[in-house]
């Protein structure tokens, strides 16, 4: 059977992958920022149970969401205020049209 590398998002047809929880306001804040900046993203919903979010821990070092993986820059980042700041810095002036 082909090995699946769970830590690498299957689909890289988007600018980034967002690890999120259903109904998590910090995640929604990141979603809103992505939409404002017109950045394409792919959603991965993880378990609500904190102790079972090992996929997030492997990526970011802890089990907090949201976490983004930016396929353009290779950046993996947690903490929504930091993510929002990063997204503005990286994507605000993209395209410019």
């Amino acid at each position: 059977m082909a090995e699946q590398t769970l830590d690498e998002p299957a689909s890289v047809d988007a600018d980034l992958t967002l690890y999120r929880l259903q109904g998590c306001p910090f995640c929604e804040r990141v979603v809103r920022t992505l939409e404002d900046l017109d950045v394409s993203y792919h959603s991965r919903f993880v378990e609500a149970k904190h102790s079972e979010r090992n996929v997030v821990q492997r990526l970011s070092g802890n089990r907090e969401v949201p976490v983004i993986v930016d396929h353009n820059t290779g950046v993996t980042m947690g903490e929504s205020p930091r993510i929002v700041k990063y997204l503005y810095k990286t994507y605000r002036n993209r395209g410019g049209d």
């Binding site: 699946q4 769970l6 998002p9 299957a10 079972e52 996929v55």
Partner: protein, 170 residues
């Protein structure tokens, strides 16, 4: 011959030799769920696609227990289930059944994929709910169906020996 409890009506379902319809639905594994196309999974090799009743139904439990006992979960095909249960139900089922080796369980609450494959099954007396009839599809990477088994009665369990022969012939 197995005694058939309730005969199901004949259905014009997808068969061996035909092209399996592609679809995209949230695919749940033991860690997360995300939109995934069947064709994306097929890029990693052949797929055993299992249409089954809702997660807590006993036929579903029996099918995954049988696949585990026969080591089909770690065989030459990636095992993928699909039913109308939610991603949360799927996550719990993967844990409860100990089937972490599975590639994933698709969540299709509207039963649209089963309808496209000709496998929709009404639940008697339950307005607004239908689910797939039990069916197995072994699908080659180019989406050709190499083997199919579709229930003709309810309940009825798959011909696992025939499935194992088909897996060996891959």
């Amino acid at each position: 011959m197995r005694r058939k409890v309730t005969e199901l009506e004949a259905t014009d379902h997808v068969e061996t030799g035909e092209k399996a319809p592609d679809f995209t639905r949230p695919l749940v594994n033991d860690e997360f769920w995300e939109d995934t196309a069947l064709s994306d999974v097929l890029e990693d090799g052949p797929v055993l696609l299992i249409f089954h009743p809702m997660d807590r139904a006993f036929p579903t439990t029996y099918v995954y227990n049988a696949l585990k006992e026969r080591s089909i979960l770690s065989g030459p095909a990636q095992v993928v289930g699909i039913t109308i249960s939610t991603p949360y139900d799927h996550a719990r089922t993967i844990e409860d059944r100990g089937i972490e080796a599975i590639r994933g369980l698709y969540s299709d609450p509207k039963n649209e994929v089963a309808a496209e494959y000709g496998l929709a099954h009404d639940l008697d007396g339950m307005e607004g709910i239908e689910e797939p009839r039990l069916a197995l599809y072994l699908i080659e990477p180019d989406r050709t169906v190499a083997f199919d088994w579709v229930a003709e009665a309810w309940p009825q369990f798959p011909d696992y020996d025939a499935l194992e022969d088909a897996l060996e012939a891959l």
